[in-house]
């Protein structure tokens, strides 16, 4: 896929859960001792200005009709790597972008409570807007000092700074690459701050990170 003027060919998307203290408090999760990771599949990816499709099977089900935005700082892997050490982490990062980890919240909570995987609630088509461009590591002096914000129909809903990340990018890369080989183009989303909330068909969602830009998507009900 093309993000701005850079073409990437990701083989996977890895998301970090519960990685901002304020979000951990609002979701009443335990503070993790090590990063919590889960996948999203590639069918989720959409770019700037493309619609987020609100699934009909959620919309028409009173127990499941809640879909949330989650703005996140994502980084893109530059080269194939495994067992990366913290001090060399940035050598393997191509750049940074804005990611929106759209989540079927009621379905996720229901699955978590029943000890089921965090998967179906996260991996509907179009549930991972990304963009508007990839800013290279060299252009961002400190990825841990960027304002991060999300607006719904112009109203600010999430507002934080990447300095509040619990596990920092080098730790995340060291941790994740102990488990899996990362491939060029792979996307790692670092978690969302507090203020998550539901979207509705018709909404315009703007996710913004300082020095990267505004990722803008509108929400549309699925037509079957």
């Amino acid at each position: 896929m093309r993000i701005g003027d850079i073409l990437i060919n990701p083989s996977k998307i890895i998301c970090v859960g519960t990685n901002y203290m304020d979000h951990i408090e609002e979701t009443k999760m335990d503070i993790p001792k090590e990063p919590v990771i889960f996948p999203k599949t590639l069918n989720c990816l959409i770019g700037q200005n493309q619609p987020i499709i609100y699934p009909k099977i959620l919309y028409e089900n009173k127990k499941l009709n809640r879909v949330d935005y989650e703005v996140e700082l994502a980084f893109i892997i530059k080269d194939r790597c495994k067992n990366v050490i913290k001090s060399e982490a940035y050598q393997h990062i191509l750049g940074y972008t804005v990611f929106n980890d759209i989540t079927a919240r009621k379905m996720q909570v229901k699955d978590i409570v029943s000890k089921l995987p965090w998967f179906r609630s996260k991996s509907f088509d179009t549930f991972s807007p990304i963009g508007p461009k990839i800013v290279q590591h060299g252009e961002i002096l400190d990825p841990h000092d960027l304002k991060i914000e999300l607006r719904q129909n112009g109203e600010t809903k999430q507002k934080s700074n990447t300095k509040f990340l619990l596990f920092k990018i080098p730790q995340l890369l060291e941790y994740i690459s102990k488990f899996f080989t990362l491939e060029p183009g792979d996307i790692i989303a670092t978690g969302t701050p507090a203020g998550i909330g539901p979207i509705q068909p018709g909404d315009i969602i703007e996710a913004e990170i300082e020095k990267i830009g505004i990722l803008r998507n509108y929400v549309k009900l699925e037509e079957i």
Binding site: V36, P39, F119
Partner: protein, 224 residues
Amino acid sequence: MKIENISINPTKIICLGRNYVDHIKEMNAPFPKEPVFFGKTINTLITDNKPIIYPKILYKDEVNKRVDYEVELAFIISKNCKNVSKQNAYDFIFGYSVFLDMTARNMQVNDRNIKLPWYRSKNFDTFGPIGPKIVSHDEISDPHNLNIELKVNGEIRQSSNTKYLLFKIPDIIEYISQFLTLEEGDIVATGTPGGVGAILPGDKIEASIEMIGTITHLIVMEGA
């Protein structure tokens, strides 16, 4: 990747959990009302006769030192599809293969108990052997009547038949494709029967399904 003489280019691997009654009982898991599924990432894939790497971080950790085999019937998607109905399911199946859903069991159980995702335990490199070939749908008259078996060092550990699948293949495709677009080459593994158990470096696994064949894998310590 190439499975015997057929090239496939999967974008994702979807696995069913809890889909044979005897396995549900041995895991003390509740009976699912609808299919339980989770994702494996592409870094897990290896083909017949390639080693399964036993991760050092599991081997050296008394709490997490358990890696299990799980033999499964997998099917490969023939073309992109969404919202498939049961009746048309077989139109979207390219063929069948043998899949091993290798699982870091203690890590999975511990993660599940603290309501974390089923992800890291399933996605170490080499944890998704597949092969030895893809048998096309036409060549298998009934995918729900195939003997399925797994041997460790020549000794039978799992022995069942795909007729005991709780959710059948058409149900599975209909269900999963409500959530996500399945793409050409995607792999769907249908779950494992009872008899799961641990392996160690030096072991040899042979996983067989009637009318498809046998995949053989040696377990090798990481870095050895």
